[in-house]
């Protein structure tokens, strides 16, 4: 079937397949971040319990472990969807390059295996193993989550900078899987993603408890839970600025077209300005309404205000990504990243002066907002790397429209998937809410005795 033909559902197969991928990956990426970040919080909380014997830490770890169990299950199945979809939606891509990117996926398989094994042990052996041994079984989960992310993202990096293979008549005749895994984009992209995972997980946890405190349940449990999540996110935030700058420089060198789209740079020019905001006008070939810092882009990308930055005009229109989406998503990500650092400075200033995080309403509102906003930043970043690579599925090697499946009815699959993912999202929210409503144990320091009344948050 010609991929440009519109089907009964109103989508071209290519658009339907891309939307399908965007929906399922966009969903999974949030759960993956929680799968990387939450185990670290669990290990820290339980470790603090072992050291201080403060029951509040143990309660935190134990209650979070159940929320984590639910999220891990949803993440495991939504990840499985992706392993199937790579072939179902992009058979040409996987049939051609599956072997080249297979090594990191194989290693990721083992990391996921370890994660699954130790999640089972950790969740079900609270009373079966001695406390210290139980704590130790949490560590492989945190390590495997980190490793999984690293391996998976190297394969996405490979799509951005494909290396390590010889292609003859559309068939890979030789491959160097190590070189493919360690492609030029791998370093910056994997670190950027993993730091994002800690940032998102930390903010989602902190945000949930900020909401609880705003609703008047300002318990020591909620305060400590918020602080723990917030510390992880706020440590990650400034690191992310540095890593993000590194990642952008790598993009400038390896994918100049994507870089030009990110920055709304239509013309190739020396002393290119850094544009803050602005709306790219693809018809007119310029970015309007941006605040421009002369030479800023040249300096950021190449360390020299007079450096030449390649514009979109360097490649035919057919090879350009949709500029407006990429530029907008990039601006959103950068703005939010900067705001997270500001929130960190606010917290730090308060801590230096009063040895405590601020507890006034404005601060709690900011923390509450940071949860969903960090997810927005995450998704925006993902849009930058994926939409920015278009029209290529493997940069410069294979076009997305050539890789898409010829199977009919992908539009219907997408419609069905939207329904299924809505159910998954609703189910997860409802179950997490049930867990959060479960009363705290009696006799915790500072807790009112007896079970508390209902009213819930999205945190356990």
């Amino acid at each position: 079937m010609d991929p440009s033909i519109t089907t009964a559902t109103g989508f071209t197969p290519l658009l339907a397949a891309r939307l399908q991928m965007a929906l399922t990956l966009g969903f999974h990426i949030v759960l993956a971040c929680l799968g990387i970040g939450l185990p670290l919080l669990l290990v820290v909380a339980e470790g603090r319990f072992l050291r201080t014997r403060d029951e509040l830490w143990r309660t935190l770890a134990r209650r979070w472990s159940r929320a984590f169990a639910v999220l891990f299950a949803v993440g495991a199945v939504s990840g499985t969807v992706l392993s199937f979809e790579l072939g179902l939606l992009w058979p040409k891509f996987m049939g051609t390059f599956g072997s080249v990117i297979g090594l990191p996926f194989t290693l990721e398989g083992f990391a996921f295996f370890l994660e699954g094994i130790f999640v089972g042990i950790y969740l079900y052996s609270w009373d079966r193993l001695p406390p210290r041994a139980h704590w130790l079984t949490g560590i492989p989960i945190a390590v495997a989550g980190f490793a999984s992310a690293w391996f998976v993202v190297t394969t996405n990096a490979w799509m951005n900078t494909p290396r390590g293979f010889t292609l003859e008549n559309g068939v890979v005749t030789e491959a160097d899987p190590i070189r493919a895994m360690l492609n030029p984009a791998a370093g910056a992209q994997t670190v950027h993603m993993i730091v994002a995972a800690y940032l998102v997980a930390g903010f989602l946890v902190a945000g949930a408890y900020a909401v609880e405190r705003l609703r008047g349940r300002d318990t020591p449990y909620a305060r400590r839970a918020m602080a723990l999540g917030l510390v992880m996110a706020l440590v990650a935030a400034p690191v992310q600025i540095v890593v993000g700058d590194w990642a952008a420089k790598v993009v400038a060198h390896t994918q100049p077209v994507k870089f030009a789209a990110m920055e709304g740079q239509f013309r190739t020019e020396a002393r290119a300005p850094l544009r803050l905001g602005g709306i790219p006008d693809e018809e007119a070939g310029r970015t309007r309404f941006a605040l421009e810092i002369p030479g800023g882009l040249s300096w950021l990308a190449y360390g020299d205000v007079d450096a030449v930055v390649q514009g979109l005009d360097a490649v035919p229109e057919d090879d350009r990504p949709p500029v407006a989406i990429v530029h907008l998503a990039f601006q959103v990500m950068v703005a939010l990243g900067t705001a997270f650092v500001a929130l960190g400075l606010w917290s730090l200033a308060a801590y230096v002066r009063r040895r405590a995080l601020p507890s006034r309403r404005a601060f709690l509102l900011a923390v509450a907002a940071s949860g969903p906003l960090s997810v927005l930043a995450l998704e925006a970043g993902w849009v930058v790397t994926e939409v920015g690579r278009q029209p290529w599925i493997a940069q410069g090697i294979m076009r997305t429209r050539d890789a898409v499946t010829e199977a009919p009815g992908i539009g219907w699959v997408f419609a069905g998937s939207m329904l299924i993912y809505t159910i998954l999202l609703a189910g997860t929210a409802v179950v997490l809410r049930l867990l959060a409503r479960h009363p705290l144990p009696r006799g915790l320091p500072g807790e009112p005795s007896g079970p508390r009344a209902g009213g819930g948050t999205h945190a356990a």
Partner: protein
């Protein structure tokens, strides 16, 4: 042994592990139907108790199979994805809802109606997943998929997998899961020292086992008449595995009668493993018969070698971890009454 044969063997090993481990988890969900209607609560608790700690690890074997296939034999993966996208999609929906159904059911403690809904989702999805995976496997085994060497497909998206062999394999897949689960659960029931529970699972296992014997005989007859190429493979190479499967299956029934549940579980798993290896050996070197073979679909040698190293290194970490998991939760010792999936959320009451 050339690296592609070694990798193909490892992939088949992973398929086997998925069938005898995750298959039993699906089977537990299938029995949920039976137990939901008329069984006391403790029967269902046994199911949740048994699969709670292990189902996620067992599930990963499938991921391993998929990744192994696309890495080592990308054309085979592309061919299967193209030809069987409908049953695979249905299986995927089953896998998704089995997982979340179980997790939501386990952690929605206290909300009775929600637990009922998610329990039903878990049970239905546990049937759908092995049914459609079985149908896909049957379509491959039938050798009639119009695949090309490079992983192309020119056939029909429905008739490719809606035929006698596919439907047989779908039912057989569900049956395998139900049988394995019944045998394993008999063993677990004995550990609870609840005699009535043990007896009800034992009789379920024996009944299902007898049905499976008949079904397996039908399958051999079907393969012999419908799929000449596969039948030749069985006659020439794979016949010892057929004998092994029949013997193991019969032994598992005898051992159940004798109340030797651990050896019965091993025999039942062995019977299933022998079926899978029999199929694999009979159709070797074809991966997706007739066109896609180990030889023409294999990845470049450097990839296969890297994979073998990765598997060796990964195995060093994986094997002891997996052994520890099963030692902790499936070891031979009386069941303690600690927190488990079914009562998760209950420790602080």
């Amino acid at each position: 042994m050339p690296p592609e044969t070694a990798v193909a063997g490892i992939i088949l090993l992973a398929v086997t592990a998925y069938a005898i481990l995750a298959g039993a988890d699906f089977g537990a969900g299938i029995w949920e139907f039976n137990t939901a209607l008329r069984a006391p609560k403790r029967e269902r608790e046994l199911i949740y108790h048994a699969i709670g700690p292990v189902w996620e690890a067992n599930h990963v074997w499938l991921i391993f199979v998929l990744v192994g296939l696309w890495t080592a034999f990308p054309a085979a993966y592309a061919a299967i994805s193209r030809a069987l996208w409908i049953p695979l999609l249905f299986a995927l929906v089953g896998i998704v809802f089995r997982g979340v159904g179980f997790a939501f059911r386990s952690y929605a403690a206290g909300a009775v109606r929600q637990q009922a809904v998610w329990g039903a989702v878990f049970a239905l999805a546990s049937i759908a997943a092995p049914f459609f995976l079985g149908a896909a496997a049957g379509a491959v085994a039938s050798g009639r998929l119009a695949v090309g060497e490079g992983g192309t497909y020119d056939g029909n998206f429905v008739t490719g997998w809606v035929n006698a062999m596919s439907l047989y394999a779908a039912v057989f897949g569900v049956g395998i899961c139900a049988y394995l689960a019944a045998v394993y659960l008999t063993r677990e029931a004995k550990m609870t020292r609840d005699r009535a529970l043990e007896e009800s699972w034992r009789s379920r296992a024996l009944t299902t086992g007898a049905y499976m014997g008949v079904l397996a005989g039908t399958g051999l007859a079907l393969a012999a008449t419908e799929i000449p190429a596969l039948a030749d493979g069985f006659r020439e190479r794979a016949w010892p595995l057929v004998i092994l499967s029949v013997a193991s299956g019969a032994a598992s029934l005898v051992l159940l009668t004798l109340r030797r549940y651990t050896t019965a579980a091993i025999a039942a798993a062995g019977a299933v493993a022998a079926v899978i290896w029999g199929w694999g050996v009979a159709q070797y070197p074809a991966l997706v018969p007739p066109a896609v073979t180990v030889e023409n679909a294999k990845a470049p040698a450097a990839v296969l070698r890297a994979m073998l190293w990765a598997i060796a290194a990964g195995g060093v970490v994986l094997v002891p971890s997996l052994a520890y998991l099963f030692y902790l939760f499936k070891g031979k010792r009386p069941r303690e009454t600690d927190e488990t999936g079914s009562t998760a959320g209950g420790d602080e009451r």
